[in-house]
C-alpha cells in the first residue's frame, strides 16, 4: 500500500498552503494543529482568510500576531479563562484585519453548503442582528415556500464556504491514511468542505484499518478527504488533545502575558516558534 499521503513533517504540510488561501481551523483543545501553525509562521505565509469553525483562540491569535491573516471569519475569538487575545484586539484596532463576524450556526451552515457544493443555504435567526448589517455577502429574501402567500417570511441566505484546506491534529492515522476523530465531526465537515482536503498532523500512525469494522469506521475521517498527513508528537501543544494530553496552562498564560505587546509577542515567536527553525538550519 502506497503511503504517498504521509509527509515528513509539519513543514511539508505548511508548504502546501499558498499565500491567500482560505484556511479552516477548529476550536482550541479539540485537536488543533499547533505544530502546523508554527510551521506556517516559520514559512511566512501571508494573506490568509481564516475560517474559524465556529470560533477560535490561541491558534488564531498566533497567526494574526505573526501577520499571516488578512481576513478573519469567526463567531468569537476567546482564550476562555486563560486571558485575552491581545494580538487579535491589536490587529482589529489597527484596521489590519478584515473582520467577518458571524454566529456559530451560520458558519456551520455555510460549511455544510460548501460540503454539498450548493451556492447558498438559508438559515433562520439572524434577521435584525447587526451581524447582518456588516455582512454584505449575506442576502435576505422572502421564503418562496412560505406557508401563507400573503404573509412574507423573510429569511437569510448565506453563501457557501469552501475553504482551500482544513487544519487538523488528531491522535492517530491508520495505515491507509484514515484519521481517528471520534465524535469530533467538525473535522469531517471541515475536511469535506475544503477543496484540497485536510492537512493533518497526528501523534502517530497505527498499523490498523479504522474502516474495517462498523465500530471504528464511525469515528474515522476517511482518507479521501485528507490531502496529506505528517507525524507531529504533541502537535497540539500547548493546547490539549482529548484523551491524550491536557492543555499546558502555564504556557498558555505565559503566552497571554507576552502577547500583550508586539515586542513581547516577537520574543514569544523567537523562543517558541522560530527556535525550531534555527535548530534545523
Amino acid at each position: 500500500m502506497s503511503q504517498d499521503w504521509l509527509l515528513g513533517s509539519a513543514e511539508e504540510l505548511a508548504a502546501r498552503i499558498p499565500d491567500g488561501a482560505k484556511v479552516a481551523i477548529g476550536v482550541d483543545n479539540t485537536g488543533v494543529a499547533m505544530e502546523t501553525t508554527r510551521a506556517m509562521i516559520r514559512r511566512g505565509v501571508r494573506d490568509l482568510h481564516l475560517v474559524c469553525v465556529p470560533m477560535a483562540g490561541l491558534q488564531a491569535d498566533l497567526l494574526i500576531g505573526a501577520g499571516c491573516i488578512s481576513t478573519l471569519e469567526t463567531s468569537a475569538v476567546t482564550f476562555g479563562e486563560y486571558g485575552v487575545p491581545h494580538r487579535f484586539h491589536d490587529a482589529l484596532k489597527r484596521g489590519a484585519l478584515k473582520m467577518m463576524d458571524a454566529t456559530c450556526p451560520a458558519i456551520y451552515a455555510a460549511m455544510e453548503a460548501g460540503r454539498k457544493e450548493i451556492p447558498f443555504i438559508p438559515l433562520r435567526g439572524l434577521l435584525g442582528s447587526d451581524l447582518v448589517v456588516h455582512r454584505p455577502d449575506w442576502k435576505t429574501i422572502d421564503n418562496p415556500f412560505a406557508p401563507e402567500a400573503d404573509r412574507p417570511d423573510p429569511i437569510l441566505l448565506l453563501p457557501a464556504i469552501r475553504p482551500d484546506v482544513a487544519l487538523i491534529h488528531a491522535p492517530y492515522a491508520d495505515r491507509n491514511g484514515n484519521i481517528f476523530i471520534g465524535r469530533r465531526r467538525d473535522f469531517a465537515l471541515m475536511a469535506q468542505a475544503s477543496r484540497q482536503g485536510a492537512l493533518v498532523t497526528v501523534e502517530e500512525v497505527r498499523d490498523i484499518d479504522l474502516m474495517a469494522s462498523e465500530e471504528t469506521a464511525a469515528g474515522a475521517l476517511p482518507a479521501i478527504y485528507v490531502e496529506a498527513t505528517a507525524v507531529a508528537p504533541r502537535g497540539a501543544w500547548p493546547l490539549g488533545l482529548p484523551d491524550v494530553y491536557d492543555i499546558d496552562e502555564a504556557h498558555f498564560r505565559r503566552y497571554g502575558e507576552l502577547a500583550r505587546t508586539a515586542d513581547g509577542f516577537a520574543r514569544y515567536l523567537d523562543e517558541f516558534v522560530h527556535r525550531r527553525k534555527q535548530a534545523a538550519e
Binding site: S75, C104, L127, G128, S129
Partner: protein, 244 residues
C-alpha cells in the same frame, strides 16, 4: 445556614428550568450548568442536559452544528445567553462597545451562537452576574441578537427573563419590557434601580428571591458540585472546595 450568591443563582435557575425536558448550556457557564444539573436531578421524567465542555453531560455526537440543529428541531427547551451589554428591549451585545465597529473601543469575544439560538429556543434565560449601568444599558452599541419584536421574523423562541447578581426580571415578549420580579436577599429595589440604565417595570409585589432549603443546599454542595466539576474544576475548587 448561609447561602452563597452562587448557590442562590443555581437554585433560582433550577426553578426556572422546572418543566424543561432538554437543557443546553454554553461555554464558560458553571452556574447555569449546575442549575441545569439540579433541575435534572429533581425531574420526574427523563431530562437531557448538554453542557458544552462536558463529555459526560452531552446528549450529542455529531459535532458543533448539532446543538443548533437540535434547537431548530425543537429539541432544546432552554438555553442561557449573556451579554457585554443588555438593554431594556432585551437586545444583547457580545461583540464590543464604543468606537465604530469593527474598531470598537472594547472588543468582546463575539456573538457565539446567540444570533440564532435567541430566536429558536423557547426558554432563553439571560444570565449576567455583573449588574451595573455599564452592562444594563439603555441601548446596546451592537446588536449581536435582537430581543423579540414584531418584524414578521420566524421566532418561536426568545428570552423569559434576566437573572443577575441582584435580581430576577421577567420579560414580556409582547410589551418588549422587563419586569422586576424578585430581588436577592441583602439587596433592594433601589439598588436594582441605581444599577440599571434601562427602564423596566416593577411587579406589584417584589419579594425576595427564594433561597434553597437545607436539603437542596446539601444537593448543590454535594452531588451537583461534583458533577459540574467534571467540566469546571476551577469553579468547584473556588466555590465548593469540599466537593473538589
Amino acid at each position: 445556614m448561609s447561602v452563597s450568591r452562587q448557590e442562590l443563582l443555581i437554585h433560582t435557575i433550577a426553578g426556572l428550568l422546572k418543566d424543561c425536558r432538554s437543557i443546553a448550556v454554553g461555554a464558560s457557564s458553571p452556574i447555569p450548568g449546575a442549575g441545569a444539573l439540579l433541575a435534572k436531578h429533581r425531574a420526574t421524567r427523563r431530562t437531557f442536559v448538554t453542557i458544552l465542555g462536558s463529555r459526560k453531560h452531552n446528549a450529542m455526537n455529531s459535532g458543533g452544528v448539532e446543538l443548533f440543529d437540535m434547537a431548530a428541531q425543537g429539541r432544546v427547551d432552554a438555553f442561557f445567553l449573556g451579554g457585554g451589554q443588555i438593554d431594556g428591549e432585551a437586545n444583547i451585545n457580545l461583540v464590543g462597545a464604543g468606537g465604530t465597529y469593527p474598531q470598537t473601543n472594547v472588543r468582546w469575544p463575539g456573538s457565539f451562537g446567540s444570533g440564532y439560538l435567541y430566536y429558536l429556543v423557547p426558554h432563553v434565560i439571560l444570565f449576567r452576574e455583573e449588574h451595573t449601568r455599564r452592562v444594563m444599558v439603555p441601548k446596546v452599541d451592537f446588536i449581536s441578537s435582537p430581543g423579540p419584536r414584531a418584524d414578521g421574523v420566524y421566532r418561536p423562541g426568545g428570552p423569559v427573563g434576566l437573572l443577575t447578581n441582584l435580581c430576577w426580571f421577567s420579560f414580556d415578549r409582547e410589551r418588549r419590557r422587563f419586569t422586576l420580579e424578585t430581588v436577592h436577599p441583602g439587596h433592594s429595589v433601589e439598588e436594582v434601580r441605581d444599577n440599571t440604565a434601562f427602564e423596566f417595570d416593577i411587579a406589584a409585589t417584589v419579594g425576595p428571591t427564594a433561597e434553597p432549603d437545607a436539603q437542596t443546599l446539601a444537593l448543590i454542595r454535594g452531588p451537583i458540585a461534583r458533577q459540574i466539576g467534571e467540566a469546571y474544576p476551577r469553579f468547584v475548587q473556588q466555590v465548593f472546595p469540599d466537593a473538589a
